[in-house]
Symmetry: C2
Subunit: 437 residues, 2 copies
């Protein structure tokens, strides 16, 4: 199988959406050769196989070996880099573990794997003197991970805010642009392939939680347990919330946010939020992703681009491969900038301890004294009101009250909301959304 002794041999685990992008990106590469490609079904027709053959007419090369025996790839002595684009945890974790034990560098696009088993895998890689590169695991083509590790490495980071999920950002953008409901836009996203048939990982915020956990762990030099990331999705967001946000000078986005607090705890969470229209992240539209980092030296830096898809993700995977190949050609040792030095797990601030501004939308009876009653309850719980608007709907004799609060502790606003829900005049607390200041 060996075609060129000077080329670094690579084994690919998986040849799906990302994998076939990687194969295209590495075609005719001067320093890299894909030796083996591991797939589940050997008989499936695959476009890239003929492409690989077709690109080397008469060169006497055979194409990379397709194999359904994935163990063969992680144990092949000639393969120096294993590229994992299988996704999921089973059997991925086991295969990657074996590859590392066999002294292979890893390039992965798998956020679940890194967010869930990162600590264990990084320790193992260090032991075995190999490197794990995972630029593609967060925000597809956006080069945020290597940037945090290298070019911004002199910074202490204060904050990361990200629009980390293209599916939900597409849905929210469509709702705003076309005045449509969540359900209609979700169906449209599924039809276009922006959302999975089962979209729960995206719309529940879980996908974003994996990503913000990975970014926070790099920025703040501590490991994050994924289960400790507070996560709230966009299922309850209505068109009304989106339009009211615009009216108030904000844009509604699903964000992942992480910050290091003065007490050393990490405030990390995923939820819908109102962000100011002057924030560059408000211009992240459609299926795009965006990440804003704030460092003590660099100030605020925003990266906006394609967070998913075959070729953008392949851009990051192939970039990581190039980076490893450059290193292999100039050194025997992994670059210390890419070796995880973390040993401890972060202390996570619970959501009830955090301080935020809030947007509330409350349906009440339309009668005298309602605002006064609400105001009194909020006041009793130290919730100070910034703006309040009451609109009457003549149809059912109810009033819709929208308000923005000043900064207040989450547990205080939750106490107030509990009491408000029980107030006679209140029909429903329709939504509570945090406001990013």
């Amino acid at each position: 199988m060996s075609k060129d002794k000077n080329k670094v041999k690579i084994g690919l685990l998986g040849a799906g959406t990302v994998g076939s992008g990687v194969i295209k990106a590495l075609q005719n590469h001067a320093f890299v050769e894909i030796k083996k490609i591991g797939v589940k079904d050997l008989n499936k027709k695959r476009e890239f196989v003929s492409a690989l053959n077709g690109n080397k007419p008469g060169a006497g090369h055979s194409p990379p070996l397709l194999t359904s025996n994935l163990n063969e790839i992680v144990s092949d002595p000639e393969i120096e880099i294993v590229v994992e684009v299988l996704g999921g945890l089973i059997p991925t974790k086991e295969l990657v573990t074996l590859a590392i034990k066999n002294k292979k560098h890893i390039v992965t696009a798998n956020k679940d794997l890194i967010a869930t088993y990162g600590p264990e895998l990084f320790d193992l890689a260090k032991e075995n003197n190999v490197q794990i590169q995972f630029e593609a695991s967060v925000c597809g083509g956006i080069p945020i991970i290597n940037t945090l590790k290298q070019t911004l490495s002199a910074n202490s980071f204060k904050k990361i805010i990200g629009i980390l999920n293209g599916t939900t950002n597409y849905i929210l953008t469509e709702m705003l642009n076309k005045n449509l409901s969540f359900d209609v836009c979700l169906k449209e996203a599924q039809k276009l392939g922006y959302a999975e048939p089962d979209p729960i990982n995206d719309i529940s915020g879980k996908d974003s939680a994996y990503k913000i956990a990975i970014l926070a762990s790099i920025a703040f030099h501590e490991r994050i347990k994924i289960d400790e990331v507070y996560t709230e999705g966009i299922q309850k967001i209505t068109l009304e919330d989106i339009l009211l946000a615009e009216e108030l000078g904000y844009r509604l986005k699903l964000i992942g946010v992480a910050g290091k607090e003065s007490d050393g705890k990490i405030d990390i969470r995923v939820h819908p939020a109102f962000i100011k229209k002057t924030n560059t992240l408000s211009s992240v539209l459609g299926a795009n992703n965006g990440v804003l980092v704030e460092g003590d030296l660099v100030g605020e830096l925003t990266l906006i681009g394609k967070g998913a898809g075959s070729m953008p993700t392949a851009s990051s995977v192939a970039g990581d491969i190039n980076l490893l190949v450059a290193q292999i050609s100039s050194s025997q040792k992994p670059n210390p900038q890419f070796v995880c030095q973390h040993t401890s797990f972060a202390k996570i601030k619970s959501i009830s301890e955090t301080t935020n501004c809030y947007f509330l939308r409350i349906k009440t009876e339309d009668k005298a004294g309602v605002v006064g009653q609400l105001g009194t309850i909020f006041g009793n719980h130290d919730v100070s009101i910034n703006t309040l608007t009451q609109r009457c709907t003549n149809l059912d004799n109810t009033a819709s009250i929208t308000m923005l609060t000043h900064l207040v502790k989450e547990e205080k606003i939750q106490e107030a909301i509990t009491e408000i829900k029980n107030a006679n005049v209140v029909k429903q607390v329709e939504n509570v959304i945090r406001v990013l200041e």
Copy 2:
């Protein structure tokens, strides 16, 4: 002077705005020690000297040696990295040349140096087996250079568009936000320190030309002669142009743009341009910079952040130092991703060969047949009109005609404009601005 045998010794050329930022950024660095700092005037009071002393109470360390003999720094055998933050070309080029000949790695924030003498210096560095890092030379804190070289290295780039100069972007943003003239905003920018007392390098577009030349040379793997970059500044931009842009759905920005054409030529230029409000670059406000790159894999990626200033620039300088230090600790050879492999100079497309849409603002007599006459002239030169608005000003019996053209070759529109200027009914062609499609 040697304080810690395990630390990499650094020499700093210059201790001005950027230099003092670098000193702050490297304070208490675990792996780096600033051994010598070269300054012009030894007697000048410098904040950082006491800071350096003050930060190591009782440690028995003496601060880095201040010296006005810059040759001492580039020839010190203990110094492995020379950080050049002097700026300018004289005596900088000579000092950097000497440092490279003495086998020192270079970190520089100097765009003039790289854009003017890059080819020569990179060849010399290759010969001497050292590396030149220059992330800070383009857009201060924005990590565009290392990103192009590493994480995006698998891409073929189609296009780079940048808002590369904070001074002019500040002026244009202020004109728009406060309805003020160019002159007033320039004076304000000078008062606030965003513009130099002599602002010509910024407002003429020269500063942006250096930067787009550096970026294009990295993205397109060819050397660019700075004198061949067509450069037009913002001196002729009026508030009226800016407001008309907004009215038409655009924003007026000074941009650097570079693209690889199908004939192999590079289209590279700096000029004011109307950019669509849906383009993420339109949200680059105030003194910020932004760069949009389009790669075949990654698609469009935009980076927005602080393009100048002491600490953002120090962020990139210190990042480059960390990158070199990591490399020095793990290898003897420069990372090939950071070694310039270019040998040839790009063929540059002349501005008259380029194709653009145009915005025109023309003052004419207010009488019948004017629009017809203009339309005929444009038609004769293959200029097709997209939108046209005529507004009469009753005061002096003139009309103001604004129009957007469809795509047309620059030489055609220039021919048309020459003829229009000579038409009887035309008082003045007040401005011609390219539109970015």
